[in-house]
Amino acid sequence: MTRLRYALLAALLCSAAALGFAAAAAASTSTAESALNASSNDACFHCHGQQDVQNRTIDVGGRQKSIFVNSGVYDASRHGKLACTSCHIGFKPGLHGVDQTQAWLVTAKLTACNNCHADVFAMYRGSFHGNLVFGESNGKAPVCADCHVAHNITPPDTPAFRASIDSLCARCHAERLKTYLDSYHGKASYLGAAKAAVCTDCHGGHKILPPSDPESKVSKQNLVATCAQCHPGANENFAGFMVHVDPQSPSSSFAVWTFYALYIMLIAVVFTFALVHTALYINRGIKDGLYRRNHHG
């Protein structure tokens, strides 16, 4: 009986430990942070991490994108510890069917981030961009991974990410970027002033809305408050400053263009006259041998 009792006790302890272990494992799986199984990613990188798949592309909303993923960059990224399958839900080692891939691109890809980042995802979903994606099924509109760079997620508060924002927005809003870069904020930011306002400081990051929407950060109702984030005491006049103005275009702002045009004419007249005067003066000086004379002592 004694041996049986010991055996039962050992079995009990073992099962308790197993249960505890399983519970702990389940708990940590649900937080996603350590969902891995590094070996499962190894299986993915076995194909997708090879340099020679760089030229293999798949069709993503009309654009051809490489199936190559740089494992070094991914591992060092904010999400580096996550299993590939926590976003690429349902994929298994082996050749993936085109149907599965295309289905994932229009479903799970769009909402994968929601599984962990429900709060910002809700903001994004209600934004202009989110509405394009979910309301109008616009394949060109940005999903989370377009701005946050799917396989190289960096914390958004790092200087590197801040510095990359203007080029992210410019992929669709190149014309706005040009006028921004010519503005006071843009020039400073472009040359490395970390504090200078970038696109998202005024337009917001996740909940970007057109200025016509009263909820927008750049709407009439909210613009003064948006300026006041950095310029406390800003008023209506201050908010009337136009960031996106092209001085060279009369249709952009006639008042600004007028001063630009006046100055260009003034500069052209003054420089041309002075250049002619100078050239003739030097020419006469050389012809008359004036340069060979004694100079000032």
Partner: protein, 292 residues
Amino acid sequence: MASTGETITAEAAPQKVRTRIEYRRFNVFHRWMHFLVFVSFTVLVFTGMPLKYKDTEWARWFMDLFGGVTAAGVYHRIAAIVTVFYWTAEFAFMVVMLLHSRGKLLRSPGSLMPGKKDLQDMIGMFAWFFGKGPKPQFDRYTYWEKFDYMSMMAGTVIIGMTGFMMWFPLWFTKVLPGVFLNIALVIHSNEALLAMGVIFIFVHFFSAHARPESFPLDKVIFTGSLPVEHYRAERPLEFARRVREGTLDEVLVEKRITWKTYAADVLWWIITAFAGFCAILMTAFIIWSVFD
């Protein structure tokens, strides 16, 4: 006039020290004013132009040189305060001189005030350029010097006002609409290009470095005086006027020629050549980026 010169030499010169009678064109006030303009203007151009031409390689290069765009902004503002100081001092000096002379200074041929003779001189110079007449004779200031001075005094007001609007946008928009800030940037930036062209190439540097009379460098704004005969040849009217009015003695100074004189000369050459080189380099960069 030779006798005047000899008297001074005989009275003031101790034995074995070489001295020379020189014509004092600029007094200490003039020279200090020019020095402040020289330093602040250079700093303003070198810290400001990289912003205007931010896309160029040299813009980043200059910003790195100054320790980043934020640091460059601080130097730009310090130089702006110096500019406010010298402009105010110069303006006050001008007012005091005008009141002191009871307005006569304004009508004097030696005044900086543009007049009919300047137009005649300009036409005369163009005739001379084409070999159709003698070179006009000038009084204390030529027409291009007057233009240089006037455009700088007026331009400083314009660039200063717009600069302060961008420095203190909250204060200015208490009254002005926001579009004034947009206009301020356009004016500030293009007035800067205009001023830089006028100073660094077309007018000022040409007149101080490249004119046959001053080539390769007219140092008089730094030294204050120049040999009498040189000045007599350069500005015959002022010289003759002073002889006629009997005021030549007021501007004749005795200059001791020591090794320090030569050392100072060499130093000024190095500094000025360097500054001129930088200015021309910058101008070349800008011409390059405009036409690139």
